[in-house]
Amino acid sequence: MDHTDKKEIRLKGINVSPGICIGKAYLVGKEGVDVVNKYYISQDNLQNEIKRFKSAVKRAKDNLQKIIETTPEELRQHIHILETHKVLYKDKMLYGKTIETMEKELVNAEWALKQVVSNVKRMFDNMTDSYLQGRAADIVQVSESIMQNLVGAKALDIGAIRKRVILVAVDLSPAETSQIQLEKIKGLITDLGGKTSHTGIIARSLEIPAVLGLESATHLIKNDDIIIVDGTAGCVIVHPTDQTLIEFGERQSNYERYKAVISRSSHLPAETVDGIKLDVLANIELPEEVVSVINYGGDGIGLYRTEFQYLSRLQFPDEHELFDNYKDVVEVMAPRPVTIRTLDISGDKGLSYASDPDEKNPVLGLRGIRYCLKNPDVFKIQLRAVLRASAYGHVRILFPMISRHEEVLAAKKLLANAADSLDKEGIDFNNDIEVGIMIEVPSAAIMADVMAKDIDFFSIGTNDLIQYSLAVDRVNRQVSHLYQSLNPAIIRIIKHVADVARNNNVEACICGEMASDPMNMPILLGLGINRLSMNPQSIPIIKKTIRSLNFKDTGLFIKDVLKETSETGIMEILTGTYGNILQDMGYNLIKVS
């Protein structure tokens, strides 16, 4: 196909899965509609055939309604399109005309619908207004979903794709995403969806570049168009010029080369030059991610975020559903540890069915353990599910957003109650489950010595700890430059928690973004941290960094760090002392790509 006569278009979306790919577009659900059979219906059967059509419309419409209802708040602006689609299903020109055609010509529903749609489409194609031309796509989309319900085919059959393509879709359901086969899909882009959507997580764990939330990709891109997906920058280029193709071709091979080098050594232990071994664990959100945890050489799960199962739905999940999920993860990872963090509903991840929209300051509001202690019924269901999963491997439980010692005691009491109830029912679980708390609120860090008496491990969530300690909202552009993980106050807080942990024989793990930056390793090691948890993709580079460091040296180095009074000073001695090592890590490459 000639792409030189078309203008290069750059679309900006949400970068959910890094990497670059170049290839032909494949619009999901846009093919196969042309193979519609025509056959005649006897007068006796006409009413049944019409009924078949009507129920296909109903199913398609109900399905759409479900999508509308489960669309999270932040994507509500896309719903207007879907609301229009809903009205289109019963439009006279589509619905009425199809039934009319069936009655007049005595043909099957599929054939009648196809004829009606191509008439409508022709009408729109003749219009000069490009917006209206685009509306034909809405009608085609609506009729396709009716067609799919008529034919009884699965919504989208991604599994049947024969060539290596880049998937382009409005949105992908979990079922559809799970059909993706790596040898056929280079990358994927969608109109809807965001970083925490199921599609994004799957793309990350399959390591295919993905950009979501592009809004109009399916309108602008046609089948077989050449497109570039830059999942690192969150950008998609349609009809690239030759120059753009060369530029991105180079960036792609740089990225691949870097990844190959890094992952070759990912299964070696994270042991310093002087023989100190660290545990490098993974943060995950979905059971599907355990595959990439193992591939990247993770020593276990340091943080299993459980919010996902509570999001994008109409009501709370039940115990069985939760248990099934946890058990999947635990069994695959065994004997490696799986740290399950209990529900941490927060300001940016509110549940539509259980949140208070009037909360003015959700980050300082009813979140994490506060929410769970206030809703013991919801909490108990999850506690029972976690306990039951503990019979299948090495499970640890982690309470989020602890800010007072009483909360630890109250949560442990509810855990004991849940254990009692399982015991009475004769259900198996580990009676000696390790209990930990998140250290993300400064008051918990300061009280760490008191907390340590009642728990088995600390998990330092640096993202929130930095935010709360420095009083900086990292998404507020006016102040986000003040969000600095190497702020001397942050290093002192971590040091305090690490010291308390050592003195009380309690474990301390860093599980925020701070743990996934090679730059921070000399400092964290120097503070005596020997457990880190991060997104699976960062594990290889972090292990490699640790293998190049000397633990004793970092212990001396940290003394100098603690003398510094600003992050600039800390950064200076850090690059002065460890600049060479970090450069070798391809550290620059990460930042650039």
Partner: protein, 93 residues
């Protein structure tokens, strides 16, 4: 007003930036669903059924174009008024 002699018919100028697009058309359709008789939108001699988004869209009416809204029966006068109001207000956009 040319059509003041005919109370079943009103001329309106499209006020919103996007013109009669899918979302505005669906708002018209929702209002018309309550009509007892047919409601029509006429532009440049072309007549569209106001209960069909597709039909309305085929009129291709951008901002500033003049359309005529027409009802078949007096009993739908209130709907006619509401429609005119909706269009004149720019569909609340």
């Amino acid at each position: 007003m040319n059509n003041s002699e005919n109370e079943l018919s009103r001329r309106v100028i499209i006020a919103n930036d996007l013109g009669l697009h899918a979302r505005s058309a669906s708002k018209i359709v929702k209002l018309v669903q309550n009509a007892k008789f047919n409601v029509w939108i006429i532009k440049d001699g072309k007549k569209a059924d106001a209960s069909s988004i597709i039909d309305i869209l085929t009129l291709a009416s951008p901002k500033g174009s003049t359309i005529t809204v027409n009802i078949d029966d007096r009993s739908d006068l209130e709907i006619l008024n509401n429609l005119v109001q909706l269009i004149e207000s720019g569909f609340g956009e």
